[in-house]
Every structure is written in structure tokens, then in C-alpha cells.
């Protein structure tokens, strides 16, 4: 089992106690391509953030690759996220003062103590391979403000893959994109899946969901239906 989500609950104190994620449990095997569908505000992104270790649950456990991330402190959780999970957030998530290539290589160097030429070469090589696969080699020296929305999203996906994560999470990966760009992005995910990457994405778009082989539905914080 690559991912086990056990009885996850996330409550917020607003005017009343609000339960964004309500006792959710599911699991993913390696090489799964899963999708959580649901309307805006149903708790999909919150659940994804909890799985990524960005947000802490009020209750429950997340086990990724046989590692329970609950006892981790911030340093450990951050390093685990960096090396085990690739996360493609909603919207434009590139740092505007870095080129595409620098954005992509950034996660690689966050915990890499070894800045020797061999290691740099290794990172550059992997980034080049991934960019070729995503057909964005021509963007390597381009800054985000000179890219289209689809190009930025593809760079973000490549960046999520630079540390060879075991699990790739994507939050509304085709949101705000035109049909052609959406199709390219989803083909990229399919390609990654066929190469063995485990993918979990959340979306409200049925067409996007169709690319996945495993489907979950989320409604008012509950995972109500799956196939």
C-alpha cells in the first residue's frame, strides 16, 4: 500500500464548528491513478493538503509508503514532503524571479547538502529529461511572466517530479486552462502514470476525472462514493 488515509477529520472554528473533512478513509496502491471529484468547498483541497503534510488533521492518520507522518515535526514533515510527494497546487505556483529550469531544480536543492558538480549535473540531467517529456525544453530559460497558463502548469508538474516522488498530488490541474492545454496536461499525467507514477488528483471536471482509473467523490467533507 502506498497511501493509507485513516479516519481523517479536519475541523475549523469559524462562527460554529465547521468540519471540512469528516472521517475520511481510503487507500491507494502503487501505480494507482486516482481522482477525487467534488464541488468547490467540498473539502477536496483540504484533504489533499493533509495528505501532503501541509495541513495537520484534527484526527486520523496518514501513512505514506509505510511511514506514519503524524509524529513528524515541521523539519521532518517538510523533508518527507520534499522527497516523497510531488505536489502541483492550484493556479500559478511558479516563483516569478526564477526561470523555468531554476523553478524545476529548486526542490532538488532544498535538502541536497551535496553541491558537487556531479550532483548538479545529475539534477540538470533529470530536469532536462522531464522537460523534454513535458515538451517544455524551449522554456528552460524563460521566466514565468513570459509563459502561458498551460506552460506554467506543465513546468509546475515537472517541478513536482524532480525529486522522483512516490506519490504525485495535483489540485485542479486543468483549472483556468483552455481545452487544448487541458488535454496536453492530462496526456502528461497519463504518460507519467504509464511510467509507474502513482497519481492522486482532485477536480470538479468530469472530463479530467475520466483519465483516472480510480474515482472518489467528496461531498460536504465526506468521501461518499467511489468506483
Amino acid at each position: 500500500m502506498l497511501l493509507e488515509v485513516k479516519n481523517i477529520r479536519k475541523q475549523y472554528q469559524r462562527q460554529t464548528l465547521f468540519c471540512a473533512v469528516d472521517n475520511v478513509s481510503f487507500s491507494l496502491q502503487q501505480r494507482d491513478y486516482a481522482c477525487i471529484m467534488g464541488r468547490s468547498g467540498s473539502g477536496k483541497t483540504t484533504l489533499l493538503n493533509i495528505i501532503a503534510g501541509i495541513s495537520t488533521p484534527t484526527q486520523g492518520r496518514i501513512i505514506i509508503d509505510n511511514t506514519d507522518i503524524a509524529p513528524f515535526d515541521d523539519e521532518q514533515a517538510s523533508q518527507f514532503r520534499n522527497q516523497t510527494i510531488g505536489y502541483v497546487p492550484q493556479g500559478s505556483s511558479l516563483l516569478t524571479n526564477l526561470t523555468a529550469m531554476e523553478n524545476i531544480c529548486l526542490p532538488y536543492y532544498l535538502y541536497s547538502k551535496n553541491k558537487q558538480p556531479d550532483n548538479i549535473e545529475c539534477c540538470n540531467k533529470r530536469a532536462q529529461q522531464l522537460m523534454q517529456m513535458a515538451e517544455i525544453s524551449h522554456l528552460s530559460e524563460i521566466y514565468p511572466n513570459q509563459m502561458s497558463g498551460g506552460e506554467m502548469r506543465r513546468v509546475a508538474i515537472v517541478r513536482a517530479l524532480i525529486c522522483s516522488p512516490k506519490l504525485l498530488l495535483a489540485d485542479e490541474p486543468t483549472n483556468d486552462l483552455d481545452d487544448e492545454s487541458s488535454r496536453q496536461i492530462m496526456q502528461l499525467f497519463s504518460g507519467l502514470h504509464s511510467q509507474g507514477t502513482t497519481i492522486l488528483l482532485v477536480t470538479h471536471d468530469h472530463e479530467v476525472a475520466n483519465y483516472a482509473s480510480k474515482h472518489f467523490k467528496m461531498e460536504a467533507g465526506k468521501l461518499t462514493d467511489y468506483s
Binding site: S93, L95, N97, L110, I120
Partner: protein
């Protein structure tokens, strides 16, 4: 085929640099704020030290407790001593023999001041000073190392700022003099003065027709009488005695060196209060401005911080990155400020001292380094201190919420 660039590792330090480089105007403004503080504190401190050392040096070296001048020339003497501004005034020389008998006076020596015309060595007038070698206790102690033999009538000793070297010849009123010695810097007006024997000075005055009236008895006049008082006696009591006996006959004025020095120190204290108040204002101003600038960019930075968190950066990494940014601002501001102040001081320190009318001695290299380090450390804490609230508030925000809020 597209050739991929080989990029350097993107470290936290490089990110901090990039963030600063991305906002050049904001970064420059913040650097200027820290620079104002470091330049004003370093420049002001060194200038105060130069003045302080100059005055202390003057107080130590002057040797005389009381200076007698003709009535109304008290200020001229002070100006001549402090700035070396040439002036000429006379009183009867026999007073020196009379007052040396007063109990409590241990030494008396006369000096004759002559304001020169421009000499070949210098672009402006000089103060020529004739002194009595047999009785002198004011000039000679500074010349012991430079002048081994007795000064001859055709020889002069020049102050440290006179552009002439030992062996050179200088002409005053068509009289040629050989430079027998050059004094060390005194920080006083003596640095721009030329010293000669009393006979040479009288001779110069006579042949140059500088004194009108009693020309035949030119040797009956001196400009100032320097008095050293025994430690067991109060200079003020000695002045009272001289006043009672000779003030009317000789029409005298007195300069008490301790009073003069104390007045200068009072002024210097006020000056240093202004300098340090100004530096404190700049320090607070820099902190307030940087605090406001950082606080106003919290939302803008949330997105960037959120992205980095999502990519796996820990909170401590982000705090480090944001503090490195503010450290860079402080370090650059401190270095440029200190260098700027050093250049200004090197170029204008003496001019500033002259315009203030006070003696100056340039601070030693080790003092400058010590002051520089203190200013550097004080400047270093400005930006991190001012940005700490924003840094902690940004990094405490929930990562994804920060990212979404910043979008």
C-alpha cells in the same frame, strides 16, 4: 535540438539574493536607510574623536597655564593657537622679567607672532612665531626629536602641514631660511606655523618694516607671554596678582588654558550629543521604514512562502531565507555607509575642523577599525530587527492558506 542551460544550485542564499534583485528600487531604498545610519554614526564618531584627541593633545602639550596678550587680543590668540590663523599683536617685553618673580610661577617665556605674506611653500599667509630658546617650554618639547642642535637665526622649524622638508629653503619677506626640522602633528594651529629664533623674528620685523612707531626699540615688544604655574598654586590667583600689579600699566588680557579647554570640551560635548542624537534618529527611522516596508509586503510574500512550503521548505529554512535578505540589506548599507563616511572624512576632515575652529588629530587605523566594527554591528541588527515581525508572521501562516491568500 534545444541546448539546455547548466544552472547553478538554487540555495536559500541565492533565493534571498534573487528576491532582493527582483525589487531593485525597494532594495536600494532600504539600503539607503541603513546607509544613512552607518555613515552618520561612523562619520560623526570619528570626527568627534578627531576633535577630542586634538583638544586633549592641545591641553596636554600646551604646557602653559596662563597666556598673557595685549588687552582685546584674547580671541586672536585662541584663534592662532587653535587654527593657526595668522595675527600680529604686541605688548611690552619687560613684563616677562617682572612677573617671573611672582611666587608660584615656575616658568615664563615670550613669543613673537608675525603674520607672513604668502611664502613659496604655501598658498596662504602663515603664522611666523619667534620664540626664546633659553626659556621656552611650549615649543621645544615637541622639537626634541626633530631638532638635535640649537636653532640658528637663519633656520626655521616648520609645522607638520607646511609643505617643506628638512633642508629646503623658504623665503619670508625676502629673508631666506633653511628648514632645520619638521614637527610632528600637534592638531593645533602650530601645525601651520613656522618657528624661528626671537632674534630672527626681530630682524625680520625690522627689515620688513612690519612695525610702525617705535622701530628702534623693536626688541622691547613680544606678542604673548606663556606662564607655567606651580601645581600648589591656583592660576586664577596668579592672574589676580598680575592684574593688580601690571594690568593698568601694560593693558593686559589673560587666557586661562584650563578655562579655554573646558569651554571647548563643553562645545564638543554638545557637538557629540547632536551627532549621536542624529545617528539615533537615523537608526529608529531605518527600523520604522524597514518595518513598514516589510509589513506592507506580507501579503505579497505569502504566496512565495506558501509555494516554498509546498515544495518542502521547512519553516526554519524560510525564516533563514527572509533574515538573510534583511542581513544583506544591513551588510551592504553598513559597508557603503562606512566607506562613504571614510571618504568624506579623508577629504574634508581637516576642512571641517578648520571651519569649526578646533584642533584635530586623525584617528588611528586601529581606532577607525574599532569604530567601524561597532557601527557595523549596530547597523547589522537594523534590518533583521525591523523585519522580524513580518518574517515570523509570514512563516507562521498555514502554507496552503498563505499560497492562496497571496495569489
Amino acid at each position: 535540438m534545444h541546448i539546455m542551460p547548466q544552472i547553478k544550485p538554487i540555495t536559500i542564499y541565492r533565493l534571498a539574493w534573487r528576491n532582493l534583485a527582483q525589487k531593485p528600487f525597494r532594495t536600494t531604498c532600504l539600503i539607503i536607510m541603513t546607509l544613512l545610519f552607518s555613515a552618520s554614526l561612523f562619520g560623526g564618531s570619528i570626527l568627534t574623536k578627531n576633535l577630542n584627541d586634538g583638544i586633549a593633545g592641545m591641553a596636554n602639550r600646551l604646557g602653559a597655564d596662563i597666556l598673557i596678550v595685549p588687552y582685546g587680543y584674547e580671541k586672536e590668540l585662541e584663534v592662532a593657537l587653535l587654527r593657526g590663523e595668522p595675527s600680529t599683536f604686541y605688548l611690552k617685553a619687560d613684563l616677562a622679567q617682572k612677573i617671573e618673580k611672582i611666587k608660584g610661577i615656575t616658568a615664563v617665556s615670550s613669543q613673537l607672532f608675525i603674520a607672513s605674506l604668502s611664502a613659496g611653500c604655501c598658498t596662504s599667509k602663515l603664522q611666523l612665531i619667534g620664540f626664546e630658546q633659553s626659556t621656552d617650554f611650549v615649543i621645544s618639547p615637541w622639537m626634541k626629536q626633530q631638532l638635535t642642535a640649537r636653532l640658528h637665526d637663519n633656520e626655521v622649524v616648520v609645522g607638520s602641514k607646511i609643505l617643506a622638508d628638512v633642508g629646503d629653503e623658504i623665503t619670508f619677506f625676502n629673508h631666506r631660511f633653511r628648514v632645520a626640522a619638521k614637527m610632528d602633528s600637534t592638531g593645533m594651529g602650530f601645525d601651520t606655523s613656522v618657528f624661528m629664533t626671537m632674534d630672527a623674528a626681530y630682524n625680520l620685523m625690522k627689515t620688513a618694516d612690519l612695525l610702525s612707531g617705535d622701530v628702534d626699540h623693536i626688541r622691547n615688544y613680544v606678542s604673548s607671554i606663556f606662564i607655567r604655574v606651580d601645581h600648589d598654586y591656583q592660576p586664577k590667583a596668579i592672574v589676580n596678582q598680575i592684574m593688580q600689579k601690571y594690568a593698568v600699566e601694560y593693558n593686559l588680557d589673560f587666557v586661562m588654558t584650563k578655562v579655554m579647554i573646558s569651554d571647548i570640551y563643553k562645545w564638543l560635548n554638545s557637538f557629540s550629543v547632536i551627532v549621536y542624537t542624529l545617528a539615533a534618529i537615523f537608526w529608529l527611522l531605518a527600523i520604522v521604514v524597514i518595518f513598514i516596508v516589510y509589513s506592507s509586503t506580507i501579503n505579497e510574500r505569502k504566496r512565495e512562502v506558501g509555494i516554498l512550503r509546498i515544495l518542502g521548505a521547512s519553516r526554519s529554512m524560510l525564516v533563514k531565507m527572509l533574515f538573510i535578505e534583511s542581513f544583506i540589506i544591513s551588510v551592504i548599507g553598513a559597508i557603503i555607509g562606512i566607506i562613504f563616511a571614510t571618504i568624506v572624512l579623508c577629504a574634508f576632515s581637516m576642512l571641517i575642523c578648520q571651519s569649526l575652529g578646533l584642533p584635530c588629530i586623525n584617528a588611528s587605523f586601529s581606532s577607525a577599525i574599532t569604530y567601524g566594527l561597532i557601527v557595523f554591528i549596530l547597523t547589522l541588527i537594523i534590518a533583521p530587527l525591523a523585519s522580524s515581525y513580518s518574517v515570523l508572521s509570514i512563516t507562521r501562516t498555514d502554507s496552503y492558506q498563505a499560497y492562496r491568500e497571496g495569489e
